[in-house]
Symmetry: C2
Subunit: 152 residues, 2 copies
């Protein structure tokens, strides 16, 4: 039982954007921070953009940013977008069900209840919490320091 790599990196992208909230984040920067390919990140971004968890700004100075405040994006929001299969057992799916218990198996109900408890905990953790848990998130991700504006 494990989350997909997509979910894992989706959370990391969102954490990067949260840590870099004052400006647009560029894909090459995020890819470098996590040592993954830009193509891989683009694939993960697509469903996040469709779900409006991330916004893209096109152009030479373009990039990505969170679609809404990090405080309002929780881990369940992310998992719902990135995990496409919450059929926890083969018998939850419609095809090729051979099990004679399928119509009224208690396992099904128990697993759904357990999954509900799993989601409830995820829903209590926001991207803002995750970003805050890491004291020096900007430094670790190699995000450049915010320049102080010269007094005018």
């Amino acid at each position: 039982m494990r989350l997909t790599r997509q979910t894992n990196y989706a959370v990391r992208i969102l954490m990067y954007c949260a840590a870099n909230k004052d400006r647009l984040s560029r894909i090459p920067e995020i890819a470098a921070a996590y040592s993954v390919s830009e193509l891989f990140l683009f694939k993960i971004l697509q469903p996040l953009v469709e779900a409006r968890l991330v916004e893209t700004v096109r152009g030479r100075n373009g990039g990505v940013r969170l679609g809404r405040p990090a405080e309002t994006i929780n881990l369940f929001d992310v998992v719902r977008v990135t995990e496409d299969n919450f059929a926890m057992a083969e018998c939850f799916e419609n095809d090729a069900v051979e099990c004679p218990l399928v119509d009224s198996c208690g396992l099904n109900a128990a697993l759904r209840e357990a999954l509900g408890a799993f989601f409830e905990v995820l829903a209590r953790h926001s991207i803002a919490d995750l970003a805050a848990a890491r004291v020096d998130l900007r430094g670790v991700l190699g995000i450049e320091p915010i320049e102080m504006k010269a007094a005018s």
Copy 2:
């Protein structure tokens, strides 16, 4: 995110044994009931026997039975034996960790908490509950009726 096929069938084997608790269950019978191969069932049985959730009785009239009462075997007991990887994200594993957040990522803690909630629910459901949830479990599984002993 899903449970392995091993877990799914491990629960089904235990349910079969629970429904058939007055006698030994034979592998060919269980395989026929669930339309899977005997070889597949033997593979799943091995860790269940090692964990003493199931006992085997050898010989011509041999078979398998629960290692302890169905009321005392819960779904967490089963999952603990059959799911060998509860590293929910790549970054929980020791090898090939490239993520700069690995030492103090809040995602790790949040997922562990969520997994704990998942396990707690599983621990509240026993094999006896699952077997009882299905009214006519013996009939559905094709277990022959218990013969009434002739009065002596």
